[in-house]
Symmetry: C2
Subunit: 615 residues, 2 copies
């Protein structure tokens, strides 16, 4: 990645933002996130690219100029290409991209051939001879355009190559000419274009893109979208966004929209809109989020449910929704500097997003339940394994683009300060003056060592202390410093640093038995087991023989960390727990939730029923 260029979501200097994104952090593959990023580039992204050819995305675009090729659903298959390109773009800044070099040039040739002279580009509409922008509710034209723009942003920021961005900008210019002030007052059925337009404004300095993003945010909520198939709430079109205090409807739509509105708010200094987004986020986190960070409880409409409606077995918790939530939280973190947004990012990343992908990086979950019953109790036809691909393949390339850009989401800073939000082994540079190397086995291990490699000067290092940590110890060159968690959730160390100085944080990873909010009906009488940022679960394969469904956790029993089963990711910590079955004591074994279903079809519980005596 070009030194000094930020990753996704880069507020301008004039934005109302507490924090400034950094250059990408170069993740070391010995670490959890570095390993994931390596698997992503070696396996996941190539798999995404392969599927673009076999599942129809490439052919749909080719079909626009070669009518002998049939169009295949879904109508938004172009977006799979764009998300994969975005992943390739961010990955181009890493060291693992060999396998996917060359794909950009091929894609550019194809897209240039398909794009109309006025900038329009959408295979479903062009090949299908459909009228542009005639079905904003379901057409997904602007959804695809948004992903095209974001892919261009990735290449531009990561490599300086702006060729793809030019294609997206040309389409954006067309959108402005159609939907600009005094133009067509419609809004897209599936948000995504909003955040892309703000990013395009950031990458080009062209005010009109920000203006258009703001129009899409403010025009929404007036029930203009088609309600013959789904109600206005599905589209977040039932109330103006700045008046709405309850997050509802399709979870991916809701959170992409909120991310875009947050971008608009910080760039326009719209503090009312920002406050509305913060309130909406709080509603989501406090009443509609699983302990995995997953959101969108209902399969029907892929939607948020009622407050506290969080069934573990029929959880939808779509992978894409968790990713969108992560992206939204990052934007609110940048806007406010408040560590609670980073806290939710961490929970979501290590649990609700990480669980969607197999250890190998080649299989995926679209929905991410917190419970799957034993085979003998399970309705016939229900599988308990990830699959190689989906008919609606939005999730795999979404994971790919996120993981490729993960290094951008961990830290912020400027010449005077560095903030570490998420901990991962790697090295980072802040502007021209500060360099740091982070060594850690986090989240399996609680020790984080940060060594100054450049920046012999006085500046401030802020370290996020997660809410679950009650006894973190911080030392500088071996000497303990008293630096408590401030109101934003950070320990702040300011001093005149020398190259070679090492700050160490020792997080207390004592496993915790966590009782859910009493209003969560589906988790009554249950608890989660957590360690650091990781949610744990019971997999049937690890438990003593007998009926898995009848296991109970003794919440007051000892919890002993032990090495995990060798088929799990190396270094994984399992937990031995006290439990019972029909009143008879048994020893239970929990593994990190994100690693479930890596050993064949699995029964699993993350909310574990606790023994009646303990209730």
């Amino acid at each position: 990645m070009t030194v000094g260029s930020p990753g996704p979501a880069a507020p301008t200097d004039s934005a109302v933002a507490a924090l400034r994104p950094l250059a990408d952090m170069n993740l070391h593959e010995a670490g959890f996130l570095g390993r994931w990023q390596r698997v992503n580039v070696e396996t996941t992204i190539p798999r995404c690219v392969d599927n673009l050819y076999t599942a129809g995305s490439i052919n749909n675009l080719r079909s626009v100029r070669d009518r002998s090729i049939e169009l295949t659903p879904p109508r938004f298959s172009d977006s799979d290409l764009y998300k994969t390109l975005e992943a390739c773009g961010w990955a181009a800044g890493t060291t693992y991209q060999a396998k996917i070099n060359g794909f950009l040039d091929e894609a550019l040739d194809l897209l240039r051939a398909v794009q109309e002279p006025d900038g329009y580009l959408n295979s479903w509409m062009q090949r299908g001879d459909r009228t542009r922008f005639a079905d904003l509710s379901h057409g997904h034209e602007m959804y695809c355009a948004g992903h095209l723009i974001q892919a261009g942003i990735a290449y531009a920021r990561a490599t300086g190559d702006r060729r793809l961005l030019e294609i997206g900008a040309k389409f954006a210019d067309l959108l402005y000419s159609v939907f600009a002030p005094d133009g067509h007052a419609g809004v897209p059925g599936h948000p995504e274009i909003e955040t892309a337009l703000v990013e395009l404004y950031r990458a080009t300095g062209e005010q009109r893109y920000l203006t258009l993003a703001g129009l899409f945010v403010d025009r929404r909520g007036h029930r203009t979208l088609d309600t013959s198939v789904t109600p206005s709430e599905y589209f977040q079109d039932h109330l103006p966004l700045r008046e709405n205090r309850h997050i509802v409807g399709h979870a991916v739509r809701a959170t992409y929209l909120a991310a875009g509105a947050t971008d608009v708010a910080v760039e326009t200094g719209d503090t009312e809109l920002l406050a509305a987004m913060q309130a909406l986020w709080t509603d989501m986190v406090e009443t509609k989020m699983y302990p995995s960070g997953g959101i969108g409880a209902r399969p029907h409409g892929e939607a948020f449910g009622d407050a506290y409606e969080l069934p573990p077995d029929q959880a939808y918790a779509e992978t894409c929704a968790a990713i969108a939530s992560f992206m939204w939280s990052w934007r609110l973190l940048l806007a406010t500097g408040d560590g609670r947004y980073a806290e939710v990012m961490e929970r979501t990343l290590y649990n609700g997003i990480a669980c969607s992908i197999s250890r190998s990086g080649a299989e995926f979950f679209y929905v991410n339940p917190l419970q799957l019953r034993s085979r003998e109790f399970r309705a016939a036809g229900t599988q308990g394994t990830r699959v190689p691909w989906f008919g609606c393949a939005c999730c795999p390339p979404n994971v790919a683009r996120l993981v490729a850009s993960l290094g951008s989401y961990l830290a912020t800073g400027d010449a005077e300060s560095v903030q570490l939000h998420l901990y991962a082994a790697g090295s980072l540079r802040v502007g021209d003056s500060i360099g740091l190397v982070v060594r850690t086995g986090y989240p399996a291990d609680g020790a984080v060592h940060i060594t100054v490699t450049e920046g012999a000067a006085e500046w401030t290092l802020s370290l996020r202390i997660p809410q679950w940590s009650t006894a973190a110890r911080i030392t500088v060159n071996g000497t303990e410093v008293r630096a408590g968690r401030n109101e934003l959730g950070y320990a702040v160390v300011r001093r005149r640093w020398q190259v070679g100085d090492t700050v160490s944080v020792e997080f207390d990873l004592e496993p915790r038995v966590v009782r859910p909010d009493k209003r969560v009906d589906a988790a009554r009488g249950c608890a989660t087991v957590e360690r650091g940022p990781l949610l744990y679960c019971l997999e049937e394969i690890d438990q003593p023989a007998g009926v898995f469904e009848d296991l109970r956790l003794d919440p007051a029993g000892p919890i002993v960390p032990v090495p995990a089963h060798p088929d799990l990711v190396e270094g994984t910590v399992a937990l031995r727990l006290g439990g019972s079955r029909a009143g008879v004591p048994v020893e239970l074994t929990a593994i990190p939730y994100h690693q479930w279903a890596n050993r064949g079809d699995a029964a699993m519980r993350a909310w574990i029923p606790i023994s009646e005596e303990s209730l």
Copy 2:
């Protein structure tokens, strides 16, 4: 109703059946079921008839001969007419039918005009110029044909008018010619024809109808139905019925099929098939049934879920599924004489079916949850009231046909014995020799008085003693008799009866706090409150001010029956319960679950969280 003619499901003399259905019981409108039957004929059936004209059923049939009329979905709209006609048919045997007389002649004219010379009759296929039987998976031709036949059966049995039956039999003859042995080996995507064909065999004596029903049962389960939209399990086409021990898939399909297979089993003496149906029923009742008797937990696919997957808030529990389950249980009761089938019929009728209809009889629920959160917690757009009609209107006419025929489901008997399965005020005759009058305020009141009006002879009276009853007292002419519950669940009184003899049963209606099976995850830490056969619930409107979601039941507290709110059905008993909110004692009020949502948009809980101290 013609004296001596049975109601729905009438095994022949040669059938392997423990019990013989009776002439219809004439329900007194002072009683709960009699009142319901009056409302059904005065309001529900006329509303169904009206909607046949306004919602498209009649017009779809007319459109076959008048192409200026457009066809409107759903494709099975003919079945709404047939179910309504069936309701009218059964109602013709009651005293409330004035409003709906004449409708049969109108319908006969229409159907005769539409039916093809070879017997085919289906507006969706005929008007749509679709190929007959080309889409057995989704076409619903035989589903509609089954309901046509059942409507004909109703008129024939209730009034002796066989004109409608002739139309159905003509279609059945066509079906036999197409699907007979050595013919087309397909099966219908939506079962219903199976039970109708057996009933047609019973009504006509024509063996071929029974043969065809048996073929449809045995040909199923070989994965011949289309799996491009739904898996084989949805259609119960994944395993031969006699091999399957776990009820899965679309709940209405599963239970209509099972009812038809049970009919085939008793008429053919197929004890293996009957045993398989009993095992399947037990799986349903023990692992996949709500305390309301509702079945089919999952909205997706309107399907049974896993064993013990019974979410109260997102419960589907379709009205039609509860009705189909009731009909299936009746067939197993006739086959075996085992009172546990009557027990489930009673639970289902008074709770899972009765809840689907408003007090006025004019509004309906399609899905029947056991919990609805307060408005302030509820996702925007979710209503908590019944509605006047549905786009897919299968449920209202299904309720109508069941309620019109309710008198047929209460008792069985012959010249030697009478069995009372469900208790309702009314009078019945058994054959030529026995007459009884039942006086009772059941289920609100536990006293049932049965007076012999004819039948001065020695014969046996069997009275079902529900499992919830632990202290029922039986007297004959005021003298207590010792007659315990036998292994089939009945108290048996045999004596030489005199006209005027009165048997009284006093059921103990002590309210009960019932803890769910420990494997029902969604009900952990909750209990139901029940009284007699009635499930109770908390409605927010009856509780002290404060957050409804935070109420807790004290399961050990006193429960006091009190008169219910005057806007509920007259004579309803409410219950005062001990409870708490945030540890502070409060008094709770429960009403019968089937009467919820009769006082405006309502929050409700049937599974009530119990106080932590009581767990």
